[in-house]
């Protein structure tokens, strides 16, 4: 497993522990008291490090290569998933996946951006950056869910919508805009979860919902800290400052009333205990779906539009 610089104090202790355990296992010296002492130390260090993560560190965790992606959640939190492909116009976008499944016996639609784990997969998935046909595939499936009265779950994890010649030719802007328009009046409940990176319009393109939740170690903003740094500071080096200034963490976003809730992660991030992560997501979905299922759809849509209408800070004189 790969580690970040800020995790070094923990890693050092873990290495010490490994060596002690080796000595202990050889059976010549009894190290058990030292071992438990060290284990305690590790726990304290973890709480210290992971309890005080700054914006940039959370951005790094959100991009951890072993973090669960959309298809991992689909496999581990849902049953009977059937993937559906294509936007019926141009092609099938591999950076956006979607299909119907069951969750506790209830039919649901799951759509989300998909990243790859190795170089080949990353290219295949276009680094989780959808093209217009990806957003149009997502919308096609959402409209189908609306037709059959099936709730929608969106898993958001993208470094942004794909910038490229073909994306522009096929109307990247229009595709995202259309989703915002249609999702705000879609006649089924929508739950959106930011499971990794929530970069700008590329994330928001499947991010208009009744409940918008962020996992603890994810980020959501108008631009990535790197690009923000390069534009406002004219250098890539101020990404940490940019991450702070953008207030892009789940806690900041909740405090600014731009999302509806934060989903806790295992200590150190979702990848550190995937079983626990999947259980938390399942518990969250169960609770949220039950709440949304109770409400009449007209009320949901009205509240959905009202929520987004209230976003923004200005002075009225």
């Amino acid at each position: 497993m790969s580690h970040f610089d800020f995790e070094k104090p923990i890693q050092d202790l873990i290495e010490q522990l490994d060596e002690l355990t080796k000595v202990h296992e050889k059976g010549k010296v009894d190290m058990s008291s030292k071992i438990s002492e060290l284990e305690q130390k590790i726990l304290v260090a973890k709480k210290e490090v992971y309890g005080n993560l700054n914006g940039w560190q959370k951005v790094q965790i959100s991009r951890h290569p072993e973090r669960p992606y959309t298809l991992d959640y689909i496999e581990n939190c849902f049953e009977n998933f059937i993937e559906l492909h294509g936007d019926r116009t141009v092609k099938d976008d591999k950076a956006m996946v979607g299909g119907f499944a069951t969750f506790n016996g209830q039919s649901v639609l799951v759509v989300g951006q998909q990243k790859g784990r190795n170089t080949k997969q990353r290219q295949f998935r276009n680094f989780g950056m959808p093209n217009p046909e990806g957003y149009r595939k997502a919308l096609r499936l959402m409209k189908m869910a609306e037709r059959f009265n099936i709730p929608v779950i969106c898993m958001i994890d993208t470094p942004g919508a794909s910038p490229g010649l073909e994306a522009e030719e096929r109307g990247q802007g229009e595709a995202i805009a259309r989703n915002l328009y249609e999702m705000s009046v879609l006649k089924v409940p929508i739950i959106c979860i930011i499971i990794g990176e929530g970069a700008s319009g590329g994330a928001l393109g499947i991010g208009v919902g009744d409940r918008v939740l962020m996992m603890e170690n994810t980020w959501y903003s108008v631009i990535s800290p790197e690009s923000c740094s390069s534009i406002l500071w004219r250098s890539w080096e101020h990404k940490e400052k940019a991450a702070e200034a953008l207030k892009l963490t789940a806690t900041d976003m909740l405090a600014n009333k731009l999302i509806d809730g934060v989903i806790p992660e295992p200590l150190g991030g979702a990848h550190n205990d995937t079983a626990l992560t999947y259980q938390t997501i399942k518990d969250t979905l169960e609770k949220e779906l039950a709440l949304l299922n109770q409400k009449p759809i007209e009320q949901l849509i009205e509240e959905r539009i009202h929520k987004f209408s209230e976003m923004g800070e200005f002075i009225e004189k």
Binding site: V185, G201, N256
Partner: protein
């Protein structure tokens, strides 16, 4: 050390005294360099009568072109704030103040209602590029949302004139959410059956393209405007190649099916008027300019 020493101060005109369009007797086209009488240039809607170059103009000029003097500005009482206490190389609150002094505007969006013709009212929400690159922050979003509500409640068609570099980074996620806010309000307008015309002018990019600018019942653009989602520089860096000529121009976007037509600014008022008369089902014989 520089070779020459500046003896006199540089530009001494206060920026607040500067006007988007120079007020001298003569106007020189910034593309073909031909000169015209300023008065004629203004009468020609700030379009070069030689090379058809459309000067970049703002809300002041568009209101004048569409309404003459006959309009009321709406929601003037909305001012920007600095919700995140944002600071890059400069504090956002300072940037706002400077831009306000420089442009004489409160933010990058003004809304007006007026008579396009004697029998056709119109709500116009117009972006101003002169204010932090026409970027969309909370004020832009709120003014658009209110303009849409106003159009819906009074059953008056809506025109939004876009001219923007995209989202305002200094308002971070607040700015991002204006995309959802404006789009959801437009969905309500659509349900109410009130026409929305989106006019895209040079330049319209980023979050503005990916929300209200592309959502018109009818999308129109001025000639040769830059229209796109990602900026040309970003795309060039991503693909590592030069971009084809005319890429992301109005003509390119029309050709790919995302615009209904391109309109020369001098025809804007007449074309809007006939389109709206048809959509609003007002008999054409009542048409008077």
């Amino acid at each position: 050390m520089s070779w020459y020493k500046r003896v006199k101060e540089g530009i001494t005109t206060l920026t607040s005294e500067k006007k988007a369009v120079p007020d001298g007797l003569w106007h020189k086209c910034s593309r073909c360099k031909k000169t015209f009488l300023s008065e004629d240039h203004q009468k020609n809607c700030y379009v070069c009568s030689n090379c058809n170059y459309h000067d970049k103009v703002g809300s002041h000029e568009y209101f004048e072109i569409l309404f003459g003097e006959d309009f009321t500005e709406l929601f003037e009482n909305i001012y920007p704030s600095d919700p995140l206490g944002f600071k890059d190389t400069k504090e956002y609150s300072k940037r706002l103040k400077e831009s306000q002094e420089k442009s004489g505007m409160t933010d990058a969006m003004r809304v007006a209602v007026g008579n396009l013709n004697a029998d056709m009212k119109l709500v116009v929400a117009c972006m101003d590029f002169g204010f932090i690159g026409g970027s969309m922050g909370s004020v832009v979003g709120e003014k658009i949302a209110r303009a849409i509500d106003y159009a819906r409640e009074n059953r008056i068609p809506l025109l939004i004139i876009s001219k923007s570099g995209g989202a305002r980074m200094m308002e971070a996620a607040f700015s991002l959410m204006q995309m959802a806010k404006t789009s959801s309000k437009l969905a309500l307008l659509g349900k109410a059956g009130i026409p929305y015309i989106s006019l895209l002018t040079d330049p319209t990019t980023g979050g503005v393209t990916a929300s209200f600018a592309m959502l018109g019942d009818v999308n129109i653009a001025e000639p040769e405007a830059l229209i796109g989602f990602a900026g040309p520089r970003v795309i060039r860096e991503t693909i590592g190649k030069d971009l084809p000529k005319g890429f992301q121009s109005s003509e390119f976007v029309l050709e790919h099916g995302f615009l209904d037509f391109i309109v020369v600014r001098t025809d804007l008022k007449a074309k809007l008027s006939s389109l709206l008369h048809i959509l609003m089902k007002v008999p054409a014989n009542q048409l008077s300019n």
